[in-house]
Amino acid sequence: MSTPYAKLPGWADYGLIPLINLLVAFVVAGFVVLLVGENPFRAAVILVEGAFGRGQGIAFTLFYATTFIFTGLSVAVAVHCGLFNIGTEGQAYIGGLGVAVVCLVFDSVTPWWITFPIAIVASAVMGALWALIPAYLQAKRGSHIVITTIMFNFIAASTMVFFLVGALKPAGSQAPQTRNFLEGGQLPKLNWIIELFGAKIRSAPFNVSFLLALLMAWLVWLLIWRTKLGYEMRTYGHSPKAAKYAGISETRIIIIAMMISGALAGMMALNPTMGDQHNVAIDFVSGAGYVGIAVALMGRSHPVGIVLAAILFGALYQGGAELAFEMPAISRDMIVIIQGLVILFAGALEHMFRPYIQVLFASVSPKSMGMAAAKGGGG
């Protein structure tokens, strides 16, 4: 009786159910659009066209997706180890500190292809260190990681403000941000890849950190499903007791998983800073860490799913910007609602439609469900 629901075929579990959840989220969002007094279908068309209609839109979509791949992977790695890392937001923000220091020191000295690897390491280390304390407290002191990581998000925000209005701000400037990075701190754009397909792009911040994000997605897949460490993490995630019985050190596995998660979060900082704004400004993460939760949920914590979900959310961001332009009543906050609804239906209410789908499957092909039901104990 441990599993209340019988098993569905894999494609239904990983494809159909997330799709239905997503659809419901969008239907509810449509009602909000209706409430505001706009046509939801026209809004949907504008959104899709804005995200994928032109080369410009695609480039922006992929730019946002890059950010969300990092944060989504960060959340997913922790989830595989049974940890809920809400601190992705703060870890990414602190990752920006690493980027800032590296770029301010090296950008006048080295070309981007030397600065970039150093910045990758710095941002990852900063993110990992920021995750270390909550991880240590969870492992050694039993403090709930959800609460400590939330607290660390706020501490991170205060810390970054402290540096950005103080040490990192150029003298005489009022804006709470670093000076602009020189050539050596700017990542090259990847817009030419989209232009290969004949699209025209005026200017878009789509840059090489997208490739880093894809590399990280592959490495996370490798880690989780092809290494001993990943196996241990999944074991601990499934059953801490079993892991302990198998001789896996609880402290070690929690700390390693959280530090990897924090490192991935920290790397997110590269994309908006070196890739787009060419400085580190206050609040540059602006909720991307929380979007990572939605992305990981939608992508079922699998790197392929995460990349797809990140592109979906990237499209929402880009399409949402177009939507705000076309329909003044709908600002970009509409995207925040959609995110919330996706998190609600794909995350918290993920089991809501499952019984109905199981009934449906049972009536369409009773044989397959009969076997599954027998295995699951008729739940």
Partner: protein, 323 residues
């Protein structure tokens, strides 16, 4: 006398700043004591603030505003219940979702209805909860020491402030002296035992969440109808999370919760007062340090360095009836 006045003023703003924290903290107390984690305090406060200010300005009545704030906030609490009690979803995820939906919808609807960039119209005095002046407060103001304390600290707050502080003994009484409170605490520690006694776990938890919704509604109404004459985008600004921190700091006890909220409110008031002024011995304290202090203190507490914070045992675990 000048120093004394500064102290009085700081304490006065401590009270004002800790009221929303206190209401939200007590809100969290009901739900977490019943075994339902609630990250969504922030979001429920925000929708409460919006609904309160919007209804008050449309119907020109503070009380309709308050009612609407509570109603909408309870509705969001019930969504949390639907996801985490009925469908046994992840309570943290559900809370995060509620915060997102609240942050987005308040701005979208505010812009659509009032076209003031997500704000609600500024509330007229009769649409807000005005300060209540206690009898003799103005006459006594001249009396040294006692006068300012009575006139500034005790008198001159809105009805919601007194309500918030009365909610502390009331919550204590409900939790520790009534049958409902006993069951509520039991369902947070050992739901199976409550179920065995023939009491519905789900219904009990739903009722706890309704209490949470009422209190977050009050907290939101305080923000938009007392502290600030109208709703402003993202006006909760992390107060829901500070309330959560205060709840842990208070070890899930109502009276402690009041002191924790007063402490965090005091830190906030101090941060505002000390902005830029150097302290003797320490020198200038960065504002950011003061702002981060409640969170740092909570982490230190969670780490078990100042006593141990032990949450309700069944917290965060959806209840599955054994068959």
């Amino acid at each position: 006398m000048d120093f004394f006045n500064i102290v009085i003023q700081t304490l006065d703003s401590t009270i004002r700043l800790s009221v929303p924290l206190l209401l939200a903290c007590l809100a969290g107390l009901y739900s977490e004591r019943a075994g339902v984690f609630d990250i969504g305090l922030e979001g429920k406060m925000l929708v409460g603030a919006f609904a309160g200010a919007a209804a008050a300005s449309v119907f020109h009545s503070a009380f309709i505003g308050l009612g609407m704030a509570i109603l909408i906030s309870v509705a969001f609490a019930l969504v949390h219940g639907f996801a985490s009690i009925t469908h046994r979803g992840n309570q943290i995820v559900s809370g995060v979702a509620i915060n997102f939906i609240a942050a987005g919808s308040t701005v979208i609807l505010g812009q659509a209805w009032f076209s003031q960039g997500g704000r609600t119209p500024a509330l007229a005095p009769n649409e807000r909860f005005e300060a209540i002046i206690f009898p003799g407060a103005n006459a006594l103001r001249g009396v040294p020491i006692v006068g300012p304390i009575y006139a500034e600290l005790i008198s001159g707050h809105s009805v919601l402030v007194y309500l918030a502080f009365l909610a502390v003994p009331f919550t204590w009484w409900v939790l520790f002296r009534t049958r409902f409170g006993l069951r509520l605490r039991a369902v947070g520690e050992n739901p199976a035992a409550v179920d065995t006694a023939g009491i519905s776990v789900a219904w009990l938890r739903y009722r706890a969440l309704i209490c949470t919704g009422i209190l977050t509604g009050l907290a939101g109404a305080y923000l938009s109808m007392v502290q600030n004459g109208g709703f402003v985008k993202d006006m909760t600004a992390g107060k829901g999370y500070i309330a959560l921190a205060a709840l842990i700091f208070a070890k899930w006890k109502p009276v402690n919760a009041m002191f924790a909220c007063l402490l965090f409110g005091f830190l906030d008031a101090l941060a505002i007062r000390l902005q830029g002024t150097p302290l003797p011995l320490i020198g200038r304290v960065p504002v950011q340090f003061m702002q981060a202090l409640p969170y740092v203190l909570t982490v230190v507490l969670l780490a078990g360095f100042i006593g141990k914070a032990i949450p309700p045992r069944a917290g965060g675990v959806p209840y599955v009836k054994e068959r």
